[in-house]
């Protein structure tokens, strides 16, 4: 039963095979910097473990009471100022040096202002999806972030302004950067400078309610040319086919439009994700299922099926209406 | 309580009695508690989005403070009297302390009456209202508790049950009362001096 469930979910939810979002598989300048710094820290800690742990194991083994031992007490040793001073001073020195390296790394990585020439994007956390606004280009999308490659020789870093619509969330795509919390009433910052194209996954990393686990992130890093092509598509108006006029009219007559926005139509809601170019996204529901027609039908009929507790209500529409609305939605390239 | 220290337990026991260490521990915890409300008050100074602001509605509570602070003196006078066996002085001093404390509460009530009904400031109005009422309110609550305890002692004294041997325990109560005064000094400074 569990297995069939698992397989079902895998089939429904796994679009593109992505690499594990490992901290030590960095693909962006800040993530690289953190990874090398982290290796230094781990190295020091490993050395300490070998020394102290080794001594502990040695003492435990070497000084165990043997079976034929006499019952005399061993020499009682109370203290030794030389040893105690040594093992106070050495750790303080280690801590001091490590703190200096840490301070330096913080100063390099933590940026409060966008570097000149960087791409600025506003990321707004909602319960339980992400809104991405590109002020430079004047469009808004959701859940899947496209950013350009940032070659070290010709850098084009991406700088995120992080805001929250409701509770505290956290933006974390491990291979691209460390995480930063997304706090209401406050704008935090995070930057990425990816060096390899590809799809990078992450998710919200601050417990934010029922579907915290379903608030996934996909970041698509593209070459400049591909990125600019994607931008042009996103800036364009929503596809409006004459063959789907009645489907579009049906959509515009339902309550969907009070939450969702499709540029150029009656749907101007801000509460839910922007659907203008819905089909340019690989997943729906902030990553919980593959974005295709059958899943969309399921989703519109009952979001709880993929994302129990999601704030989008089941619209209580008759099945044929759901199908016609989805017919319209899948046209939104 | 005194007998539990010097005789049963050796000179290595600290010079303080159980009650003294106990009361000091309580005061330490209460200090920590009030410190957080003071921090919240200072943190939110000037950040209210609207509504009545401190400078508009607060007046220096001189009379109230005079009452409360002098009540510390009266209780000290009372206890010195008790230590000398002068029961009348003790009862008079305690009565004065209770009266002064109650007057302080009366002034607070008047102030709040004006704030709520004339200026429309409540706990829910804005950040100032929230932090002001909780800080001053908790202080007032501690005054109430102190007054209840003091009144209890006063009643016992009036019925002739209090002797010089009780002076040490009542001294501990006076420590609590002095603490309440010190907190008021902090509240006064933060709310009525710094915050205005």
């Amino acid at each position: 039963m569990i297995l069939s469930n698992v397989l079902q979910r895998v089939a429904a939810g796994s679009p593109v095979r992505v690499r594990t979002p490992a901290i030590f598989d960095p693909a962006s300048a800040p993530a690289n910097e953190i990874a090398s710094y982290a290796l230094l820290v781990i190295g020091i800690c490993a050395a300490l473990f070998l020394v102290v742990g080794g001594l502990t194991f040695y003492a435990l083994l070497r000084f165990r009471a043997r079976p034929g031992d006499d019952e005399r007490e061993p020499p009682q040793i109370y203290a030794s100022s030389q040893i105690e001073i040594a093992w106070t001073v050495v750790p303080i020195v280690i801590v001091f040096l490590l703190a200096l390296v840490t301070a330096r790394t913080i100063l390099v990585l933590q940026k409060d202002e966008a570097p000149i020439g960087s791409l600025e994007i506003t990321a707004i956390g909602h319960q339980w999806w992400w809104e991405f606004h590109y002020p430079e280009y004047g469009f808004t999308t959701a859940n899947e972030l496209h950013i350009p490659l940032s070659d070290p020789s010709d850098p084009w870093p991406t700088f995120l302004d992080l805001q929250s619509q409701d509770v505290i969330h956290s933006f974390w795509v491990p291979r691209l950067s460390g995480k930063t919390d997304v706090v209401p009433n406050r704008t935090n910052h995070l930057w990425m400078a990816p060096t390899q194209p590809g799809v990078y996954v992450g998710q919200c990393a601050e417990y934010c309610g029922t579907q915290h686990a379903g608030m996934l992130l996909r970041v698509v890093v593209e070459s400049r040319a591909d990125f600019e092509r994607w931008v042009e598509r996103q800036r364009g108006p929503a596809v409006s086919r004459a063959s789907l006029a009645s489907e579009q009219a049906l959509f515009e007559a339902t309550a969907c439009i009070s939450c969702h926005r499709i540029r150029g139509t009656r749907a101007q809601g801000r509460f839910g994700p922007d659907l203008t170019h819905l089909m340019s996204r690989e997943t729906l529901g902030a990553g919980v299922a593959r974005n295709d027609r059958s899943n969309l039908i399921q989703w519109v009929a009952s979001p709880d099926h993929f994302k129990p507790g999601a704030l989008m209500p089941a619209m209580q529409l008759p099945p044929d209406q759901v199908e016609r609305i989805v017919d319209y939605l899948v046209s939104l390239e | 309580m005194t007998e539990a220290t010097a005789d049963t337990y050796g000179p290595e026991a600290s010079g303080w009695s159980r009650g003294q260490v106990g009361m000091m521990s309580l005061i330490l915890a209460e200090t920590s508690f009030f410190a957080v409300f003071l921090v919240a008050y200072l943190f939110y100074l000037g950040r209210s989005l609207g509504g009545p602001y401190p400078a508009d509605v607060l007046e220096l509570p001189i009379a109230a403070s005079a009452c409360l602070l002098s009540s510390s003196l009266t209780i000290m006078w009372a206890i010195r009297g008790l230590e000398r066996g002068e029961s009348a002085r003790f009862a008079a001093g305690m009565a004065a302390t209770v009266a002064l404390g109650a007057t302080f509460l009366g002034f607070t009530a008047l102030e709040w009456n004006e704030l709520i009904f004339t200026h429309g400031l409540t706990l829910a109005t804005n950040l100032f209202g929230t932090t002001y009422y909780s800080l001053v309110g908790f202080h007032a609550a501690h005054v109430v508790i102190g007054l209840l305890l003091l009144s209890g002692v006063l009643l016992l004294a009036l019925r002739g049950h209090v002797d010089r041997e009780h002076a040490e325990r009542i001294e501990l109560l006076s420590w609590y009362w002095h603490f309440v005064d010190v907190v008021w000094i902090a509240v006064f400074t933060v709310v009525y001096v710094i915050g205005v």
């Binding site: 982290a38 703190a99 840490t102 009433n185 | 521990s25």
Partner: protein, 574 residues
């Protein structure tokens, strides 16, 4: 107190004669009272020993419940996309599990041991305020029951109630009125608020007792390390718990009276709660851990047959840890967006706290060194503790390395770290303490063989679950998620972590069996089964109600060593 700088003293090994203790009064035979009489006695007791046992017993029962909650979570997480539990159920489980383990298991058990042992170790008859002591226990219990009532009572019985689901640290605005409707969160607030009064009254008692009720000859410099450490813990409780109370009251005001402490709509700060909470929360983890250090500091010397190395340094280090613990709180908030200066400060101070902690570790190792270590069950648990706590401290340094923390925080790496501290550190020393002092408390020995099974099974389970968890964290798995996608590469590690539960459960079963068996078998332990040196072993097992027929007089830190070795007493060398 004598100078810290003391010359190394070499003493020849000396004989260990048997001690004949004619003054030892046998424990009172069980009375022929009805069970209602016994119940009445226990419910109305103000005796520190009984209250200590009540605290520990209640803590262990909550431990079983918290363990079941954890097992349920690991069952859900064993496979990706699992739907054994709904997200709502899972979120309640991790909230209740964390809250239970910290407030209803850790706090009462340390209070229980402190209560039981301090008067005995200082030669006193009871705690300073026996009735306050009893009040504290019942407040703790009531608070715990109130919290658990939420499973049934909150929002009615129909939906099987709703326990709080905001996490054990209940960050705002999620825990505010707007995002946590109903009363689930209120049960969390009130349950902890009320049981917190128990902890605070315990602290007042322990502090007062230690300062004012020591027997003749016991200067502060001759107190057992356990007593010193509980003094520091009590001070931490008195300073660190009221901020939690204050913050919870503020949250209650927000939720019920329309206040705006954490209301971002009114200009309130979402992060202020975190500052208040962690100002409490960080000292809290030391409040939990330092008693574990205390047990290790009593047990390791006895089983190594050596005096603790560096007594003064141990005291000084504990005090330093206590002081520093107030300066590091925002290392739980390094991703929240504080400025660079604050990030640098909190990272540096957190690393600094590793220094006194390391010193304690070195002192224990130096105590082992040159000893004759008997690996009875308490020592097995302490040995594992030493290695595990070292690892926990080192992963703590990794988390204090701020940029590294930006990756690690809120991931399973943190979960691994703090379970290493609280299970690998605290729980292992608690198990050691139970096996060590159970004979004193009950008069019966716990079965050595079952104890070994308990140890090895639990050790295996603990490592299967939590050592692998470091990997999940480094592979990018965040915490507090009820499920995860199958394509992240986390599947195998989660499965292994979940399998560890089986071994831990088996170990705990052996422990329960050992306790039951001991109480049935009633194999007498005698006054001093371990050949130890502190005063609690100078009276019967269990001690009479008045503890000591005659108040002891001491001349050194190890009064029983002096008694057993009159030709070479400690006070000649201290």
């Amino acid at each position: 107190m004598s100078a810290i700088d003391r010359p190394t003293i070499d003493r020849p090994a000396i004989d260990r004669p048997a001690i004949d203790r004619p003054d030892s009064i046998p424990s009172e035979p069980p009375n022929e009272r009805s069970w209602t009489g016994v119940l009445h006695e226990w419910v109305t007791t103000v005796d520190h020993k009984r209250l200590g046992i009540l605290y520990i017993g209640a803590g262990l029962i909550f431990f079983l419940i918290g363990g079941l909650e954890a097992a349920a979570m690991r069952w859900q997480l064993a496979f990706p996309g699992n739907d054994a539990l709904s997200p709502e159920e899972f979120n309640r489980l991790f909230t209740m599990h964390g809250t239970t383990m910290v407030f209803l298991v850790g706090m009462p058990i340390i209070t229980g041991f402190g209560n039981y042992l301090i008067p005995l170790m200082i030669g006193a008859r009871d705690m300073a305020f026996p009735r306050l002591n009893a009040w504290g226990f019942w407040m703790f219990l009531f608070g715990g029951l109130l919290l658990y009532f939420s499973y049934f009572g909150s929002t009615g019985l129909y939906g099987a109630g709703s326990a709080p689901d905001v996490g054990w640290f209940a960050y705002t605005p999620l825990s505010g009125k707007a995002f946590s409707r109903g009363n689930a969160t209120d049960y969390w607030i009130l349950g902890i608020l009320i049981s917190g009064f128990g902890s605070m009254s315990g602290a007042i008692n322990m502090l007062t007792t230690s300062f004012t009720m020591r027997c003749k000859g016991m200067t502060l410099a001759r107190m057992p390390l356990l007593v010193w450490m509980m003094v520091v813990v009590s001070l931490l409780i008195l300073i660190a718990m009221p901020p939690l109370t204050a913050a919870q009251v503020m949250l209650l005001f927000d939720r019920f009276l329309g206040a705006h402490f954490f209301d971002t709509q009114a200009g309130g700060d979402a992060v202020l709660w975190q500052h208040f909470f962690w100002f409490f929360g960080h000292p809290e983890v030391y409040i939990l851990m330092i008693p574990g250090f205390a047990y290790a500091s009593e047990i390791i010397p006895v089983f190594s047959r050596k005096v603790i190395f560096g007594y003064s340094a141990m005291v000084a280090a504990t005090v330093m840890i206590g002081l520093l613990s107030f300066g590091v709180w925002a290392h739980h908030m390094l991703a929240v967006g504080m400025n660079r200066g604050l990030n640098i400060w909190f990272g540096a101070i957190t690393m600094l706290v590793g220094v006194p902690t390391g010193i304690k570790l070195f002192n224990w190792i130096a105590t082992l060194y040159g000893g004759k270590i008997r690996f009875r069950v308490p020592m097995l648990f302490c040995a594992a503790f030493l290695v595990q706590f070292l690892l926990a401290g080192l992963t703590g340094i990794m988390l204090a390395a701020v940029p590294f923390d930006w990756q690690l925080t809120d991931s399973y790496f943190v979960v691994a770290h703090f379970h290493y501290v609280l299970i690998g550190g605290l729980l292992f020393t608690i198990f050691a303490a139970i096996y060590y002092w159970f004979p004193k408390m009950t008069g019966f020995m716990l079965d050595e063989k079952l104890g070994r099974w308990h140890f090895w099974l639990f050790l295996a389970g603990f490592h299967l679950t939590f050592t692998t968890m470091h990997v999940q964290g480094m592979l990018g798995m965040p915490r507090r998620i009820y499920t995860y996608p199958a394509d992240r590469g986390w599947d195998l590690w989660n499965l292994i972590s979940s399998l560890g539960v089986i071994f831990q459960a088996a170990g705990v079963l052996c422990f329960a069996a050992a306790v039951v068996l001991a109480l049935r078998r009633r194999e007498p332990a005698g006054d001093d089964p371990w050949d130890a040196w502190t005063l609690e072993w100078a009276t019967s097992s269990p001690p009479p109600a008045y503890n000591f027929a005659e108040t002891p007089v001491v001349r050194s830190r190890r009064p029983l060593w002096d008694e057993k070795h009159p030709e070479d007493p400690d006070w000649k060398y201290e």
